[in-house]
Amino acid sequence: MRPELESEYVEFVRGRLARLHRTAYLLCGDGHRADDIVQATLTALYVNWKKAARADNLDGYTHRILVRRYLDDRRLRWSRVRLGDLPAETVTVVAADHKLGERDELMAALRTLPKGQRAVIVLRYFDDLSVEATAAALDCSVGNVKSQCSRGLASLRSVLNDKQQLETGGRA
């Protein structure tokens, strides 16, 4: 790759890496697996950078690759291997921290959603993609995004409502 193109790539990665990792983690719920998804995404992006850099919506293009890697992760045998191991001490800390406990509750609720629905929720409400951009990233119809979004929100409502009740003193 020509140096100026590579500089553009480095600049893009530097600005997006942390957020892409968070997106991947919200999707798959495993830090190491999230690393693998992001690594595969950015490697594919590097190889196709000349073409990708000319895309009208580079972020959309990148999300499309990332989501595809996540949704299609059954291709290799090790796709279900947990790629990490949390030391026991970390678990204790998480359990003792009320706020972290709440976040874990949300992650647990996200994990119960079907993968496609989870992807819609994460792209819409974490990455702030519009309905149209989410549809483009997932390569599906706008109507499908809307219906998946509605179902996902309905499933997460109880977790979010519980939190709201705590904040408001549990008023009905």
């Binding site: 790539y9 480095v10 990665v13 890496l17 990792h21 983690y25 495993d30 830090g31 190491h32 690393d35 992001v38 690594q39 490697t43 594919a44 992006l45 590097y46 196709n48 950078w49 989501v67 595809r68 949704l71 299609d72 059954r74 291709r75 290799l76 045998r77 090790w78 291997v81 947990r82 790629l83 990490g84 191991d85 949390l86 970390t90 678990v91 998480v94 706020k99 972290l100 709440e102 976040r103 949300l106 079907p114 993968k115 496609g116 629905q117 819609v120 929720i121 409400y125 974490f126 997932l138 390569d139 599906c140 119809s141 499908n144 219906s147 997460l156 409502r157 979010l160 939190k163 709201q164």
Partner: protein, 391 residues
């Protein structure tokens, strides 16, 4: 605050484990992939185009032909492994199959299983079911000759084959809820106990017994039987290998998925805790015979060890191991680690390669795909089934 706003706020504050990626290693990985794509033929590597039928019997069906058992006392070294010792061969593909992967090989190297995946995963496959799995057809190569197996379901993923050519696979529309066995090429549905099941692995050993790990337990179907027995294992048990003497090797994962304890089990469910020879906790990738390859907790290093001799070796692999053979040879993403060290399983044209399994005669099976050509339907490069034979 609206529900949507609450969700936005909370997704932004979820505690995310630290990433091991940085701009430097991302860039290095991109450059490596790009080099693989563009660099010319590595010295000595030969690409043999066309069918495998003409290959000598040393590759297929050579039960008596084995490499000398290694004494792996040399550590794999970091950095790009040398290539040139391995010959890549494209396997024959049935007409109309465009995205076919070789997924496993029996210990003799005679039988290779494959899966042809078509259609898209996720939402567009079926707007009413976001998680409908892709269509997948089962394929078996016998002595290099390809045959499409009868498919009782539109989405079947083969996961195991034994030296007698008995094949096992998983099927289902959204989850893998059924295990199938092919004997002499004919499918048999293996019945589940009552309840809903989502299987992640199925193995068949030399006597023909089948073991599958489901989300609610581990099932065994004895050779010739289609009735399952649920093994009395701890909740969270996952079988990762099934040896020919009937030993199950795997682990128990805690409900919050933060703790892994490896075990061997007998077919009656008797458990023995399995730790690395140095006492550290392990997470099993796979095993064959006495050889095991695993992640050592908590550092994440990939190791191999021999359960009989206790020999332990850090392979320093950046990816999990996909296969190990009866001599302790390990395959991971684009690399074979022999007793003498790593060998690159590269493709002379630079396409992406991923080995999935290795036979005892050294035959490696896997996929080749080309970043340059994307399937317009899936948006992904198509897979081609390949083998490597290594000196």
């Amino acid at each position: 605050m609206t529900l949507e706003q609450q969700l936005r706020d909370r997704l932004g504050t979820v505690d995310v484990p630290p990433s091991r990626l940085d701009v430097g290693n991302v860039l290095a990985a991109g450059r490596r992939a790009d080099r693989r794509r563009t660099v010319q033929v590595a010295a000595g590597t030969v690409l043999v185009m066309g069918a495998l039928v003409a290959l000598p019997s040393v590759v297929f069906g050579s039960r008596g032909t084995q490499h000398a058992t290694p004494t792996p006392n040399q550590s794999a070294t970091a950095g790009p492994p040398p290539s040139g010792d391995c010959t890549l061969t494209k396997l024959p593909v049935p007409r109309a199959m465009k995205n076919l992967s070789a997924r496993g090989v029996d210990p003799t190297g005679r039988y290779i299983i494959g899966v042809n995946v078509s259609g898209k995963p996720g939402p567009k496959s079926d707007p009413d079911s976001a998680d409908r799995s892709q269509d997948a057809q089962p394929v078996l190569w016998t002595d290099g000759k390809v045959k499409t197996l009868p498919a009782p379901h539109r989405s079947i993923r083969l996961t195991g084959v034994n030296a007698g050519g008995v094949v096992v696979g998983l099927a289902g529309d959204t989850v893998n809820d059924t295990v199938w066995r092919w004997v002499d090429g004919q499918p048999q549905k293996l019945r589940n106990p009552a309840g809903s099941w989502d299987f992640s692995y199925a193995f068949v050993n030399a006597p023909g017994d089948v073991v599958a790990t489901g989300d609610t337990g581990v099932l065994v179907w004895r050779a010739g039987s289609t009735t399952a027995t649920k093994l009395p294992l701890e909740t969270g048990a996952e079988v990762r290998a099934f040896t020919d003497d009937g030993t199950l090797i795997g682990q128990v994962v805690s409900l919050d998925r933060t703790k892994v304890t490896a075990y061997t089990w007998t077919l009656s469910g008797a458990a023995t805790k399995l730790t690395a020879p140095d006492g550290r906790n392990v997470e099993i990738f796979t095993a064959r015979g006495d050889w095991v390859t695993a992640r050592i907790a908590p550092a994440g290093a990939a190791v191999r060890w021999n359960r009989k001799t206790g020999h332990l070796e850090d392979l320093r692999l950046p990816f999990p191991a996909n296969g190990i053979n009866g001599h302790g040879w390990v395959v991971s993403q684009d690399v074979l680690v022999k007793d003498t060290g790593p060998v690159g399983l590269t493709d002379p044209t630079g396409d992406f390669t991923a080995p999935s399994d290795i036979a005892d005669n050294g035959l490696i099976v896997g996929i080749l795909n080309d970043y340059q050509t994307q399937n317009p339907e899936t948006g992904e490069p198509d897979n081609q089934p390949v083998t490597w034979t290594c000196r």
